[in-house]
Structures are given as structure tokens and as C-alpha cells.
């Protein structure tokens, strides 16, 4: 296969990001191949979560460009490119409603309507991620942090995304639940994962220390 056949799932090209006069990232570059699973690590405030926000178009870098599947993220393309991404926050706020309502809601959006049949996978995914079935009718506000993380993850999987941006997604999980999450992704060559974690054992295809690379690093 040539490079043209398979562009990187995610490419950051010379990203510079400043907040309030402080440079968070300087000329930061990164390429993540399709199916690759990487972990971004580094001290708090080093810009790990900002990288995920740039990929999602939630933060617009001062310099540089973001490419998803070879297409540049712009004001016009962001809406279609987001439909390729799954984002699970460290402390996800899933909005109001029961777990079932949370899982069904995104299928009301035009971008996801054709995927509604994926909801049939819900029972298997609950079992796989060690969640009890009776949780499905509970208000999401009654869930623990770890349960919310797994519900957010299941929601992303149901949407059939291929590129996962996971921000400390196993931080509130016990050992067994964490293993269940990691074991779901590890053998899947079709899923790309960019994980932010203090735990370098999460996804170990590649571990990138932002503290070292943020000041002009280039990682391909």
C-alpha cells in the first residue's frame, strides 16, 4: 500500500497553541496511522487535552493544521470530519436523561440516523464492559464516574466511529473494567486510538511524552 492509499488517520502539522500569552504547544507535529493506538502522556497543563480539542475543532490552533483521514480540518469540513471521531472525556457530561435516552439521542442527529440499527449491539457492549443490564433505565446522574465513562464509550462505539480520542478514559475504572476496555481496542486493527493518560500502560503501540515533544517535536 502506498501513502496515498492510506493517509494517516490523524495528522497534526506544526501546531502552535497559545492561551493568555502562554505558549502551550509550539510547532507540534504528529502522525497516527490507521489502526495505531497511541498514548499521550505528560504533566498536567502540558497540552494533552488541548491536542484532542484541536483534533475535534473545539480549539483552533494559532498556527498549523489538522488533517483527519488526509482531509484538512476547516470551518467547512469540521462537521463531516467530526462524524469520523469519537471523543470520551475524563468526566463525561452526557446531558440529562436515562442511560437508554443518552444512547439513543445521537441517532436523532442527521449525521447518525442511518446507523440507528447499531443500537442492537447495546446488550453485548454492556456485558463486554461489565455494566449490568438494569443500568439502562437509570438516570445518568445516578451513575458513578466509571459507569459514565463506560456509557460514553459504548455510545461512541454504537456510532460506528473509527478514530477514538480518549481522555483519561480508564481513570475511574477498577482493574478488571480497565482491562475490559483495553482488550476491546487492542486487537482491533480498524480502530485508531489517541489516548491521554498518566498511565503509560494503557495503549502501548506508542507513548508520546508531551513535556518532551511539545516544544517543537515532530513525531511521525
Amino acid at each position: 500500500m502506498t501513502e496515498t492509499d492510506h493517509p494517516p488517520a490523524v495528522r497534526l502539522d506544526g501546531i502552535t497553541l497559545r492561551f493568555g500569552g502562554k505558549t502551550i504547544l509550539h510547532q507540534f507535529s504528529l502522525e497516527v496511522a490507521p489502526g495505531q493506538k497511541i498514548t499521550l502522556t505528560g504533566r498536567s497543563g502540558s497540552g494533552k487535552t488541548s491536542i484532542l480539542r484541536c483534533i475535534l475543532g473545539f480549539t483552533v490552533p494559532d498556527e498549523g493544521a489538522v488533517f483527519i483521514d488526509g482531509e484538512r480540518l476547516t470551518e467547512a469540513s469540521v462537521w463531516s470530519l467530526r462524524a469520523k471521531l469519537a471523543y470520551v472525556a475524563q468526566e463525561p457530561d452526557l446531558g440529562p436523561g436515562t442511560v437508554m435516552e443518552i444512547l439513543e439521542r445521537p441517532f436523532q442527529y442527521r449525521a447518525n440516523r442511518a446507523l440507528r440499527k447499531n443500537l442492537d449491539w447495546t446488550p453485548q457492549l454492556f456485558e463486554r464492559f461489565m455494566l449490568t443490564r438494569d443500568l439502562i433505565n437509570q438516570p445518568v446522574t445516578e451513575l458513578s464516574g466509571g459507569e459514565k465513562q463506560r456509557v460514553a464509550l459504548i455510545s461512541s462505539i454504537l456510532l460506528g466511529r473509527r478514530i477514538f480520542l480518549l481522555d483519561e478514559v480508564t481513570s475511574a475504572l477498577d482493574r478488571a473494567a480497565k482491562e475490559a476496555v483495553l482488550e476491546y481496542f487492542r486487537p482491533r486493527d480498524d480502530l485508531t486510538v489517541i489516548s491521554v493518560s498518566h498511565d503509560t500502560q494503557s495503549f502501548n503501540d506508542r507513548v508520546i511524552d508531551i513535556d518532551i515533544t511539545a516544544a517543537g517535536g515532530s513525531l511521525g
Binding site: 473545539f58 470551518e75 467530526r82 472525556a89 457530561d93 446531558g95 439521542r105 442527529y109 449525521a111
Partner: protein
């Protein structure tokens, strides 16, 4: 049918005697609002005297352009109140909210005067100014509630909002629940007022028509028409207020531009 009974200036001065009760209670309980209450009474008096004198001239002249000008001044003052009341930046919100208030007030007003009252001249001062004022006052209150609720709710639940965008929602889809909640809050007082009108309180317009010497059945017809006009106007202005301000309040990437807030 009786005539309108004039209030002599001396008798009006006696009305201020009723202020003894609030004054006594404020002083007795040491409620910290003596200065604010006194200032409000003075402002109310000065503003109404000024408006009364001005409207007397406006009514006597009854020039359509002067009536329009007066209505536009009222809308402009309301516009500034909404932007300030919602804690937002004047530069970004003044024009779209002016349009929202103008349409929300003008459409039901022109319908009321032209279709319901069947007046040949739509901008007749005697009808356009008081009815326009009543509709505008309600539009102002509703716009403050809807704008503040809508943008504050998105700011406060930023994580949930971004989660929705990340799941593939377009901006219109992501903002819809916030729009629904803000509209519900803004229209709530009008809906509640319609449900209790006549039982809990006799509303202003009906009272005014009765005091002017009309019989109660005529008064309720005016009241029913004005309530519907207010409900229609507030709904229109609330929808426009969100729709017209959204363009300058979100980035092209769908995130809320927090520079819209004054603090």
C-alpha cells in the same frame, strides 16, 4: 356609561400619603432598600410626568412619523435593557435584538390596530403607542429571559454541549434542547398570566378601559385581544432573538464564543 374622572393635582399628591406604609415597614425591619425605593418613586414620577406631557403633544399632533419615531425610541430603550439585563456585549447583540423586538412588537400591533380594531390609520397615536408599549414591555421581559437562559445554559454545561457536537450534531441540533428550555422559561410567565387573568388579578388594559368609562364586556374583549397579541409577540421575538443572535455568538466550528459575555 360614565365619563373618565379626572384626578386633581392636589388629590394626586395625597396618593403619596400611601407611601407611609412601605416607609414604616422598611424602617421598622431595616430593609436595606430605603434609598433604592425613594429613587424609584422619584424616577417613576419624573418619567411619567415627562411621558405624559410628551404624549399629550404626540397625541395632539398625531403625525404618523412622530408616532413611529416614538415607538422606535421605546424599542431602542428596550433593546439596551435586554442586552444589559442579559449581561452581553452591546456591540454584538444590539442590532439583532433590536430587530427581534421590532418584529415581535410591530406584527401583533399592526394586526391589533388594523384587523381587530379596524382603524383606517394603523399608526394612530391613541392606539399604536399604548398597545405597542404593552406588547413591547412583554417582549422585553421575554427576551431578557430567553437570551440569558440560552447562552448561560450553554456556557454552564459546556462539556455536555461539546459532547453533543463530538457525537456529530450540527449546531442547530446541538442547540435545540437549550433553545427549548430557554423558550419555555421565557414564555412561562405569559402562559401563566393567561391562565389566571381575571381571577387572580384584573389586568392593566381591562382596568384602563373600565376606568375610561367602557362597560366590562367591552373591556374583556380588549383584554382577550391584547393577551393573544402579547403571547404572539413574545413567541415571535423570543424565536427571533435566539435565531438572529446565534450567528455572531458561535464560532464557525460550533463552539460558543465566550467573548459575547461582558464578564
Amino acid at each position: 356609561m360614565s365619563e373618565t374622572i379626572e384626578i386633581a393635582d392636589l388629590n394626586l399628591a395625597l396618593a403619596y400619603g400611601l407611601l407611609l406604609f412601605p416607609l414604616a415597614i422598611i424602617l421598622w425591619y431595616r430593609v436595606p432598600m430605603l434609598g433604592a425605593a425613594a429613587q424609584s418613586v422619584v424616577r417613576m414620577t419624573v418619567q411619567l410626568v415627562f411621558v405624559g406631557l410628551y404624549l399629550q403633544v404626540v397625541f395632539r399632533l398625531d403625525w404618523w412619523w412622530l408616532n413611529v419615531l416614538w415607538l422606535l425610541v421605546m424599542i431602542l430603550v428596550a433593546d439596551v435593557s435586554v442586552v444589559r439585563g442579559a449581561g452581553l456585549r452591546m456591540r454584538r447583540f444590539a442590532i439583532p435584538l433590536f430587530i427581534a423586538l421590532l418584529v415581535g412588537s410591530a406584527v401583533p400591533l399592526l394586526f391589533f390596530v388594523g384587523v381587530i380594531l379596524r382603524r383606517p390609520f394603523l399608526l394612530e397615536a391613541q392606539f399604536a403607542i399604548p398597545i405597542g408599549g404593552m406588547i413591547l414591555g412583554n417582549c422585553l421581559r421575554a427576551d431578557i429571559i430567553v437570551i440569558r437562559n440560552f447562552y448561560e445554559a450553554i456556557r454552564e454545561s459546556e462539556k455536555a454541549f461539546l459532547h453533543t457536537l463530538a457525537q456529530g450534531a450540527r449546531l442547530a441540533e446541538a442547540t435545540r434542547p437549550y433553545m427549548r428550555n430557554a423558550t419555555h422559561a421565557a414564555l412561562g410567565p405569559t402562559v401563566a398570566m393567561m391562565a389566571t387573568v381575571g381571577i387572580v388579578a384584573l389586568p392593566g388594559m381591562m382596568t384602563g378601559v373600565i376606568l375610561a368609562g367602557a362597560d366590562p364586556l367591552t373591556a374583556i374583549k380588549y383584554q382577550i385581544a391584547i393577551m393573544i397579541a402579547i403571547f404572539s409577540g413574545t413567541t415571535l421575538t423570543v424565536a427571533l432573538a435566539i435565531w438572529l443572535t446565534m450567528r455572531q455568538s458561535f464560532t464557525a466550528y460550533g463552539t460558543l464564543d465566550t467573548r459575547i459575555f461582558r464578564k
